[in-house]
Symmetry: C2
Subunit: 482 residues, 2 copies
């Protein structure tokens, strides 16, 4: 999995340096082409010049030394035009792997630059599980031809993987594994492996199955090389092992990999027949992707953006959450309109009300984040939920007394009005209670309804704490300040 | 790495079920003790009853079947009192491993329940790198005794690991690896491994070193078992490999593991001497921890909380960011105070101004999140930064025209005032430009200054977009509305 140069150097520096050199070559080429164009040389003659060809060759030489994942990184860091110039210089046998390695957004730009034949030859080199990963981005016609080019077993596998949800173990699975029988000796296994040659990537264990492909155990390479070759597989293999079903949640599998420090695990169907395996690198990608998705959603983005995508494309990625935020902001501020008479009389309220609303949002988000996390870790159950609620309300009261007093004193200090200070303090306390209740209720309700408690909770919560913050503060002011 | 029962069942369901059963046993015990206490039986006699002992035995029996990581999960899901009751029933030879597996907050509650001897015997069973992970939580006296109990090599290793930053490769490293020489045959290696017996966990490759411990290459078990035993290690080993230095950033190492799908990689000093190895499970933990820390910080929490910690303890975890948010909120709303005259005359401004401020915060966060991510991935460099800035400003103008018009029309619709609508539209456009500039400038500046661009960016940004939003909107209103 590593290549000549990534070898003897330090990968991150090395990569940045390569990127730098390629960028410089591209710029030099552009500059020289611009000069030639000024001398009225037409575009098609330009690409025929010796100079142009030398540059292309220099870039190609650099690329040929790189790992597919390194080229993917370089493509992502280049603006679209230069990206496609480099993409056309990549060795075509790496095309498929690079398409897998780049982000979804960048993949789109690369695929749109390829004609169906190129796509077909790039994807034909891939494993079934890798084709499944690319499937959503491939044009219908390419997918069709690809299916026809596969043998029966591969086609069946591909179709069955595509039938499962994206968040299931089946979507993370691959099929490249080595199976053995339990009634042979380790010596026989070793001879078989030597005859077989190269093992699939990341083979840390062999799967022991019976004649019906039912999983009996696993034999790790660690055990294979440390035990006497005369022993039987059945004596040395592990029978107690973590395995998954095709329809298990990928998230649960990721937790199990973390908990038991797994490198790979078998996947079986409900008849306990071996279907494939999940490797830790698929799990690492899954964890990274999942955490990226949540953070992007929290920041109000639908999906990962190609940083060089057009303005129009990026805007669409951002409008969904902006629209929702605007609707909720509009709704919560309509509360203020109801109290306009009060504000005209005591205009100080206008500058104090955003603070009451804001601190509610902040504390509510703290509570909801802990609840979301605890739900994800499976730490919340009917036995402890009451304690949790009592604890969060307790913190809200404590926070309300402390920060309510601080804000009350500040309001008094600014406007020399005791009643205004008291209203500020009381409203802060009450809004922190509202925030705690909402911070508990929203994620718990979303979880109960089978929705992802992480996404959207913050928007809903802020809308509630804003609206209630304005209402409580201005309401108390209307009641007590005149 | 797996145990009898986690074996033949589906890990997540299995775990929840075990937790449920243990909770039920604890509750039954409590109930019966309460009944006996009502009959005036004193506490110390209570724990001597047959019933009590039966319950303890039943819980212990359940625990004995579990993997240390499973017990860690159960301890985290239990309130402190019940957690300590279970903790005292755990087999003491698992204590050290469980301390490693629980979260920082829960570890604290467990350690505070142990006396120095217990702690010493729990930690003495651990590897040097594991002791280093626990070191910050151990009392000074235990740490001292522990250091004295180690042999020279282990003590030197421990001290050197502790000398490196927490975010360096050295902090993720472990020392359990197998080294071989390049001038022997694979057959000799196999015989050596069989004589040696059990290999360290997660051994996927052997490290080839010379007599000075200088790293020459690696021999994967995959190659060892597929090549002819007569071949020399030097012929079969990989010489081109990804390795790290002790002081490399852990984050860079994590990216390299993801990029090249590594399972383990050697760590060398600057003389290229082998120092240890990094395993993928340490990388998985690091990725999860890092992403958790960022999400907690974004929600305004200093660190992970034990969900059953006391109110007081939790409050302290939440006050730092609350205080900062309050200060910034207070500062940005002081802008409103300056325009109180305008608000008294046109009270509609009071309910519209939070919307202008809010949409600025939302769009600014979208921009800054993409910049933070691109910085983390190393995608931003001097060659493309200008394009990025132009793109984000372009989106801000587009968004400003679209959403400014929407908000302008809404304001007009509500108050039937054309000028008010125009001010609303203009202020929205301008504040979205401010938001884009700040969303670019804050993370880029923090990165340039060597600060983590992810943490604190959102608070600073919101303060700016709030303050500027109020200022622009109320300022335009003051200029144009009378």
């Amino acid at each position: 999995m590593t290549q000549a140069d990534s070898a003897t150097t330090h990968p991150e520096e090395y990569l940045r340096q390569h990127l730098q050199e390629i960028v410089e070559l591209l710029h030099k080429q552009k500059l020289e082409e611009a000069i030639l164009q000024q001398q009225k040389m037409p575009r098609h003659e330009l690409v025929e010049t010796l100079l142009h060809k030398q540059h292309q060759a220099a870039i190609k030489q650099k690329l040929d030394k790189l790992h597919s994942a390194d080229i993917a990184y370089i493509l992502e860091a280049l603006p679209v035009e230069e990206r496609l110039a480099v993409w056309n210089l990549v060795q075509s046998d790496l095309d498929g792997q690079i398409l897998l390695d780049v982000s979804d957004a960048v993949r789109e730009t690369l695929i749109s630059d390829m004609d169906p034949e190129e796509l077909l030859s790039a994807t034909e080199q891939l494993d079934t599980d890798e084709i499944a990963d690319l499937a959503p981005d491939l044009p219908e016609e390419v997918m069709q031809e690809l299916l026809e080019s596969l043998n029966d077993q591969s086609r069946r596998r591909l179709e069955s993987v595509l039938a499962y949800e994206e968040d299931s173990v089946a979507a993370l699975m691959d099929f490249s594994m080595v199976t053995i029988r339990e009634d042979v000796t380790l010596g026989v296994v070793l001879r078989y492996l030597r005859r077989r040659g190269e093992l699939p990537e990341h083979t840390d264990k062999l799967f022991v199955v019976d004649e019906n492909d039912v999983l009996k155990g696993v034999l790790s390479l660690r055990r294979l090389v440390t035990h006497n070759p005369d022993k039987l597989v059945a004596e040395v293999m592990a029978r107690d092992l973590v395995y998954f079903h095709l329809d298990d949640y990928a998230e649960d599998a990721a937790r199990a990999f973390e908990r038991y420090d797994l490198l790979s695990a078998p996947v079986v169907d409900h008849g306990h027949k071996l279907q494939g395996r999940v490797r830790v690198d698929a799990i690492v990608d899954f964890i990274r992707r999942k955490s990226d998705q949540q953070r992007l959603a929290e920041a109000g983005l639908l999906e990962e953006e190609d940083i060089f995508s057009g303005v129009w494309k990026s805007a669409k990625n951002r409008w969904f959450w902006l629209a929702i935020n605007l609707v909720t902001a509009f709704a919560s501020t309509r509360v203020i309109g109801v109290f306009e008479d009060t504000i005209v009389k005591i205009v100080a309220l206008a500058s104090l009300m955003p603070i009451v609303a804001g601190i509610g949002g902040n504390t509510g988000n703290q509570t909801s984040m802990l609840i979301v996390r605890s739900l994800a870790l499976g730490l919340i159950n009917s036995g402890n939920i009451k304690r949790l609620i009592i604890k969060e309300l307790g913190i809200a009261v404590l926070n309300g007394l402390v920060w309510g007093s601080v804000l009350g004193l500040l309001a008094y200090g600014l406007y020399r009005n005791v009643d205004l200070g008291l209203v500020m303090a009381g409203a802060t306390l009450l809004n922190l209670l509202v925030a705690a209740i909402m911070g508990l209720a929203i994620p718990l309700a979303r979880d109960r309804l089978g929705l992802d408690p992480a996404v959207g909770t913050s928007v809903l919560l802020t809308a509630m704490t804003d609206g209630m913050g304005f209402f409580i503060f201005l309401g108390l002011a209307t009641l007590f300040l005149y």
